[in-house]
């Protein structure tokens, strides 16, 4: 299977605090990978290193056969190929829902406005937000914002979608609508890398689960292995703790 992103010996430190230690893993085309782990284990940092919102302090990230950490690599073009969905939605406050999905296409992909709006409408329909295209972010609920944020990322037609705890900032009754959209996307064959605390989602939807603990990948495998018969002691402990809550 074709590797979309391969992380090799990735290291990240904030000052003296080594947050990621020798991380190795890859995401294949069409795969859904969930990253789980306790708070502070470095999940967000890993995701943010992959799209270079944080600059890794060591290692390589291979995309299309090239190490994107080389100085001469074009960061901006690379980021266009990764869709990012944030915990706090981060919709552009000065744009309405439609415009949030259009601005990147027009300014970065150089699509015509008409074409960009057509693409945006397609993805807003996928997330069920086509009725709300004229609404400004502050006029939307959390779940609606997050669905528009997903449509915004999809509108760039990225090679892989990164989700950083997309439902953690939502009221419980809105978690479902976002997870449902994500499940549909996973089933449509989209390549997804999802940091999540939703164990049910990880179990049901992912092809592979990565368990992180204290800056390292402690265990990695199909969901059946991780959730039913984890090999590592700390995986077992983490699951016991989270599932008992």
């Amino acid at each position: 299977m074709e590797k979309i992103i391969e992380v090799q010996h990735l290291n990240k430190r904030f000052g003296d605090n080594e947050v990621l230690k020798d991380i190795n893993f890859s995401v294949h085309k069409g795969e859904v990978v969930c990253i789980i782990g306790s708070s502070g284990s470095g999940k967000s940092t890993l995701l943010r290193c992959i799209n270079l919102l944080e600059k890794p302090t060591g290692g390589r990230i291979i995309y299309k056969g090239k190490n994107i950490l080389d100085d001469k690599h074009n960061v901006y073009q690379y980021r266009q190929k990764l869709g990012m969905v944030f915990q706090q939605f981060n919709l552009f406050n000065n744009h309405n829902a439609l415009s949030n999905c259009v601005v990147g296409q027009v300014k970065l992909l150089k699509r015509s406005r008409a074409e960009a709006e057509e693409v945006a409408m397609k993805y807003l329909r996928v997330v069920g937000m086509e009725q709300y295209i004229h609404a400004k972010p502050k006029q939307l609920s959390g779940g609606q914002k997050q669905r528009v944020a997903i449509a915004r990322a999809l509108s760039m037609e990225p090679d892989v979608m990164l989700f950083d705890e997309p439902t953690s900032a939502l009221d419980p009754e809105m978690v479902g609508e976002v997870l449902k959209v994500m499940k549909e996307l996973a089933e449509s064959g989209l390549t997804m890398l999802v940091v999540t605390h939703e164990m049910g989602f990880a179990k049901e939807v992912s092809d592979r689960v990565v368990f992180m603990d204290q800056g390292v990948i402690a265990e990695e495998g199909p969901p059946e292995q991780i959730f039913n018969s984890p090999i590592q002691e700390r995986t077992r402990e983490f699951l016991k703790r989270t599932l008992n809550q």
Partner: protein, 254 residues
């Protein structure tokens, strides 16, 4: 004091008052506009993330240092003194005899620029960090992030402060009479001197200043409200519903 003098001064000298007020408005509008542009450019430059190493880092550090010096210097000295130094300094040092109106606009612009640079920087910093991150994550560079996402929000946020600068400029152009610019204060002084009617002449000037600043404040409020847009939005019903949509709507209403 008598009302006769008011009437006399107004009927006799109104064209001078109007011309003076016109020059005052002209200098402060152009000065505020150019100053805001200077502030915008400097504000954007001063928020460029400094690279960790390399020639670009050194260049940016030098530019930032120079800009900081400019801001500190013009904020730390009175405009009345700046006007004298620039107008007479240019004449002595470089043998440039500036047009007085040009000199006035020049002084007001760079003075406003120094204040606006800090206001803009504050406005940019106050925009939520998530907005920058989302723009970067989608692939925008610093300039694209600024023009498409951050500046529109920052400008809305700093509009009240900018209006304030404009109002201050209307009032403070009066100090430019030291380089004999025929703005409102200068005109009033001549009128008063001609008749030895200081109170009456300056009282009229006072009212004209107030009308100008009050009107400007009202107009800016209106612009602020316009920028905020409507409170509500309309649902988009123009699209063709697909079976999945209907299913979705159906589920929602349950």
């Amino acid at each position: 004091m008598s009302s006769e003098w008011f009437v006399r001064i107004i009927t006799e000298y109104w064209p001078m008052f109007i011309r003076g007020a016109g020059i005052t408005l002209f200098i402060s509008i152009i000065g505020t506009l150019i100053g805001s542009l200077i502030g915008l450019v400097i504000g954007v430059i001063r928020t460029v993330p400094v690279p960790e190493r390399g020639a670009k880092r050194i260049l940016l550090k030098v530019i930032n240092g120079l800009l900081a010096a400019y801001i500190e210097f013009f904020r730390g000295t009175p405009m009345i003194v700046q006007a004298m130094v620039i107008f007479y300094g240019a004449a002595i040092a470089f043998d440039i005899h500036m047009n007085r109106l040009f000199a006035a606009i020049f002084v007001v612009s760079i003075n406003t620029g120094a204040y606006m640079a800090e206001i803009v920087r504050g406005g940019i910093i106050s925009v939520d960090k998530g907005q920058f991150e989302a723009a970067h994550a989608i692939g925008m560079n610093h300039i694209q992030t600024m023009t498409n996402v951050v500046l529109p929000q920052a400008i809305r946020n700093i509009l009240p402060a900018t209006g304030n600068e404009f109002v201050i400029n209307i009032k403070d152009t009066s100090v430019l009479n030291v380089i004999s610019v025929t703005e409102l204060y200068f005109q009033t002084k001549s009128i008063a001197g001609n008749n030895f009617r200081y109170f009456e002449a300056f009282f009229i000037a006072c009212i004209i200043y107030f009308i100008m600043t009050f009107t400007v404040t009202r107009i800016l409020r209106y612009i602020e409200r316009r920028m905020d847009g409507p409170e509500t939005f309309t649902l988009n019903q123009m699209q063709v519903a697909t079976p999945e949509d209907l299913l979705r709507l159906d589920q929602k209403t349950k």
